[in-house]
Symmetry: C2
Amino acid sequence: MPVLALLHRLLAGPVADLNGPSRALLVTCYPVLLTAVVLALSLAVHRALPAAGGTWLFDLPSRRRRSNTTAIEGEAMARTDPPAPAGPARADVEEAARWLSGRVVRTPVLRSPAIDRLAGARVLMKAENLQAGGSYKMRGALLAVGRLAAAGHAGVVAQSTGNHAVAVSLAARGHGLAATVVLPVDAAATKVARARAAGAHIVLAGTTVEERLAVARQLSDATGHPLIDAYDHPDVIAGQGSASLELIAEAERAGTPLDALVVPVGGGGGVAGACLAASDSAIDVYGVEPVGCDSLARSLAAGRRVPVVPGPTIADGLRPSCVGELPFAVLRDGVRGVVRVDDEEIAEAFRLLLLELKVLAEPSGAAGLAGALRLAAGRTDLGRQETAGAGGPEPAGAAVLEAAGAGGFAPTLVGGLETTGVGRRRYRTVGVVLTGGNVEATLVARLVGERLADVTSVEGVAA
Amino acid sequence: MPVLALLHRLLAGPVADLNGPSRALLVTCYPVLLTAVVLALSLAVHRALPAAGGTWLFDLPSRRRRSNTTAIEGEAMARTDPPAPAGPARADVEEAARWLSGRVVRTPVLRSPAIDRLAGARVLMKAENLQAGGSYKMRGALLAVGRLAAAGHAGVVAQSTGNHAVAVSLAARGHGLAATVVLPVDAAATKVARARAAGAHIVLAGTTVEERLAVARQLSDATGHPLIDAYDHPDVIAGQGSASLELIAEAERAGTPLDALVVPVGGGGGVAGACLAASDSAIDVYGVEPVGCDSLARSLAAGRRVPVVPGPTIADGLRPSCVGELPFAVLRDGVRGVVRVDDEEIAEAFRLLLLELKVLAEPSGAAGLAGALRLAAGRTDLGRQETAGAGGPEPAGAAVLEAAGAGGFAPTLVGGLETTGVGRRRYRTVGVVLTGGNVEATLVARLVGERLADVTSVEGVAA
């Protein structure tokens, strides 16, 4: 122990000069002194390392999560909530990304000049609608099921409006586990068919999360197979976060680092994962909720989880009655705000993605782009943009998407973060996670067919 | 010149021993002898290098193109055609790929378990429908326009049913050149709108290639701006071929090298590029033509270019009346066969791509997948596959797509290549180039809406 030897040598001289009771006292206090010095050094390093971007052995997830807030917002607020349960941290998202690499599709990041022009910013879209199983839910499901399989479980139980159930079914088949999944009686037929095709045992129950959850818990108790929650699960949050991590890294590599990241919100697992993925950067993370299904928006405003009675929306995946406990513990400090979008905006984003980007996103996924366009709507004059766009110069670089301040989107943006008076932030590059692509053929026909007259104006800005 | 010095030293001894007329004769013949030796060595190297995979200085494009045939088929046939005009070679495709890298989108290679199962083989799809401008035509157009811009031209003229016109318009804008494009009076509105949005001068003329070409030539003469043909142009063939080159390389890298490559055929530029890209491999290249628009099929059967009166088809991009001269010079020896598909098969492939792969391909692009499925149809019992697929093991690896022999597809496969008696070839991995994604919203609604009852059975095999 060179440190102790050095300390001994340093102290031995002065101590040798002393005698009598002073010496006896000092010799007795020696271990205490030494402990104090080691502790002081330890604390100094502990404080210095995070500032230098390093990590520290004792920096537990809950501690790191809180420190994000200060970095992002500098907002001081006395929290009265009970301490958050142990949730995932950024390191878990990184580990998930490593483990999932090669096990899931590395989905492409796509871009459309027409969409850039409409948004007034670069919009980089992570096409998780092209993910195995048709949605980014495959990431969390594969990670959670993989760990349960490694722990020796023979089966799993899950409930969701569809994509999580499909993903758990496929992940279970991949690991040779039995899967029992509970879907609502009004689930999209394509999602039920996909879960069934993966060999899962299908149970249809109720129309709300509570009804499905009660059935799923009964099934879990009866079979002894663990329940994998669709969002209140650390592996699910970390897995979903890996999509954001890839998008952030690819944007960085392309020389267009993200200023903001927009993710649709159901139970909040995906956007919580995004917050963790972005937690060591200055990227503003926004959630998107359908009007009337805005539990996260209300929860952020209230400072505690607030359930809602979900209203009707074409975004069937964004209808849980309440944001999850684990996600909210991350989100209440990590997310910059929530954008509310209505069905018409979602349908418009759906058509843009289909006809301009050439990909099929389900309305829940299209909501992400609708949110990004809504963020921009306070500033962008679409009519003017269209005129300038036709034959004009490339839009990227010149136009920027602006957030905060007295913009037109203020009524739909909550979280108490716009009131700090930090002024406007300009977003040159916005990332969007297109979370899924499992959509009914009938709904595609209806969404493409409706307002066909409007499509021409959209095509007018295409390039 | 050490070689000459060496030869001189070797020959000097014997020559010195001779005298009188023998010596005079030998000294006179010395240059002739030396030339003969150098020529013999040169020819030996010329023959040895291609076998070793090397290239040779004097191996001109036309020479290399012919040698492909022997490598692929070993078919000996006395050709009576006039010598082919100077066309592009594999090296041109490689050079195009290098030049286009970073200038066009490196489109992803996509795959769907449901499509693999239907085909009975791995189907790797190069999503050029996600290319800038909405089709792979951007590659050839950018290369051709780039070279004309470098040569100092101030503008270009092009004609096509749409995608080439859109691509040339965008490429011209990118290079600051004026573009005049001629489209048919019945062109897809989205393609006209996209060309117009790119700032091109639009001329609508006739419904056939001949009518458009006549107008385009007039415009070219009047403006002095060169005409960039949609397929009878070496840069266009080489540019389009770079998509196939990327697909071949990515399949190789993923550990699933292609056995066959399927490309839709309009004027034949893309499939000729594919043949060049695949010319140093054992990959079988197939073209796909709509029934009634089968100029390439008829031309291969006749051994010379045969025009057709194009019948009606939803694949608006595959309707030229005759395969191009330069493409045919490559194709008559390079392509293994042509698969004819009808509108119903194209519509079914369109729906599979949309609902399973989650991408929007235009019917002309979807024809590629329709062709791959048609190739497999001789063997695959779709009903049986569906049953086996639900919850069964992964299809890839076990099932294979079979071609040639007395398969059920024989009536639709031409080219005289199935008559050589080489027996059946088994395709484990088939590449498909999804050439474009510019499609009318009305057509999307119609294709998705029609036969909605059938969609459920398709979804039954999804996973």
